[in-house]
């Protein structure tokens, strides 16, 4: 086993919930599959952009949002399979240097939706190293070693700090958790986001 895959693993639901407490203006883009269920399980929110398709595109949706909403923190929460399929996006994001964008990869080294087949991260591909080499301002790994709640709190703070782009690889266990399915209606998601952004904009101009 590669050294990057050693050490105790996080429980995915608790980790995502900890990232999204007191989220304020944070927008969340979730990658198709388990990441979308994890974000939904943490509580539905009009500024959640759930993906059910477009595998490999989640990080770039986050970049488009971050450029369009430069004063608002944006986090992409996705799986290792989606991140690997859009690996070039890490280079594209690093070149843009969006200070308000964070990428959190929930890495279980598996393709969970298709039967838990091993991904390239199981084979030793180091996403933290890739993001750092591309030029992310911050690239780190988190697992269940040491002061877990302290480390999770530090990651949550990073999402709001505006010193990105930030990359976080979260090593999570392969344990199956119940699916929490948010809406699959993309039009409803878009209209919800539009209304929420407009309501905030109206409130701030009052």
């Amino acid at each position: 086993m590669s050294a990057i895959n050693e050490g105790p693993l996080l429980e995915r639901r608790g980790f995502v919930r900890a990232l999204l407490v007191d989220r304020g203006a944070l927008m969340v883009v979730s990658g198709l599959g388990s990441a979308t269920y994890d974000v939904a399980a943490a509580g539905d929110h009009p500024l959640n952009v759930y993906q059910w398709g477009g595998m490999g595109g989640t990080m770039m949706i986050g970049l488009g949002l971050a450029l369009a909403q430069p004063t608002r923190p944006v986090v992409v929460i996705t799986g290792d399979g989606d991140a690997l399929m859009g690996l070039g996006s890490l280079a594209t994001i690093a070149v843009q240097r969006p200070a308000n964008l964070s990428i959190v990869v929930l890495d279980n080294g598996r393709y969970g939706e298709t039967g838990m087949q091993a991904s390239h991260t199981s084979g030793g591909v180091d996403l933290v190293g890739v993001a750092a080499a591309c030029g992310f301002a911050e690239s780190r790994m988190i697992d269940a070693t040491g002061d877990v709640s302290g480390h999770m709190s530090a990651v949550r703070t990073l999402l709001h700090a505006g010193a990105g782009p930030v990359f976080v690889r979260a090593r999570i266990s392969c344990d199956e958790v119940p699916r929490v399915l948010p809406t699959r209606d993309g039009q409803a998601i878009r209209l919800g986001v539009e209304r929420a952004l407009r309501a905030e904009s109206d409130a701030s101009s009052r």
Binding site: G54, L63, G64, L67, A68, Q69
Partner: protein, 178 residues
């Protein structure tokens, strides 16, 4: 005194003028010879985020995010890049967001490189099957009117719209020094 004929190479400036008129704020592209001048104009504009991509499909996702965030975006690519995007196009209809796509055509008029022909000859059908309305531009004189009208349709109707700039208009690629 006669007025000099308008140089036909100004068509990228016509496109850029419409980008500004409809308030395009993000322009994504993979570097491309046919789009060179338009890309340079976008890079030089402080109000446009120019996003250089590693593959065209990244741009489809970027345009989707821009629209969800309330900004208008345009996507520039060569016909070969259309094939790289097919599954990602599903984001556009899924979320119901607009997409303004400008494609420089290869493999259709005096093409030197036969490897450009398979994708160039299926580009327009691929786009239609993927939910785009497609429009071809055959000459530089048409660019202003066609691009202007299609910009409006893309953003007024939240539709994926593709404008195919013909290889005949763009000009053949010079492969060896004259």
């Amino acid at each position: 005194m006669t007025t000099p004929a308008r140089p036909t190479t100004s068509w990228p400036d016509d496109i850029f003028a419409h980008f500004k008129r409809v308030n395009i704020r993000q322009v994504a592209y993979v570097p491309d010879a046919g789009h060179t001048r338009l890309i340079e104009r976008c890079i030089a504009d402080a109000d446009i985020a120019d996003v250089v991509l590693t593959t065209e499909e990244e741009g489809v996702a970027l345009v989707t995010g821009a629209a969800l965030g309330g900004q208008r975006a345009a996507l520039l690519m060569q016909s070969s890049g259309v094939g790289n995007c097919v599954n990602m196009f599903s984001l556009l209809s899924g979320f119901g967001v607009p997409c303004l796509l400008l494609v420089t055509m290869r493999g259709e008029f005096g093409e030197f490189n036969p490897w450009q022909v398979p994708m160039g000859s299926t580009t327009e059908e691929t786009l239609r099957l993927s939910g785009f309305l497609t429009y071809r531009v055959e000459s530089a004189e048409e660019v202003d009117e066609i691009v202007g009208a299609r910009c409006d349709m893309a953003f007024n109707g939240s539709r994926p719209i593709a404008i195919l700039l013909s290889q005949r208009m763009i000009g053949r690629k010079q492969w060896v020094a004259k």
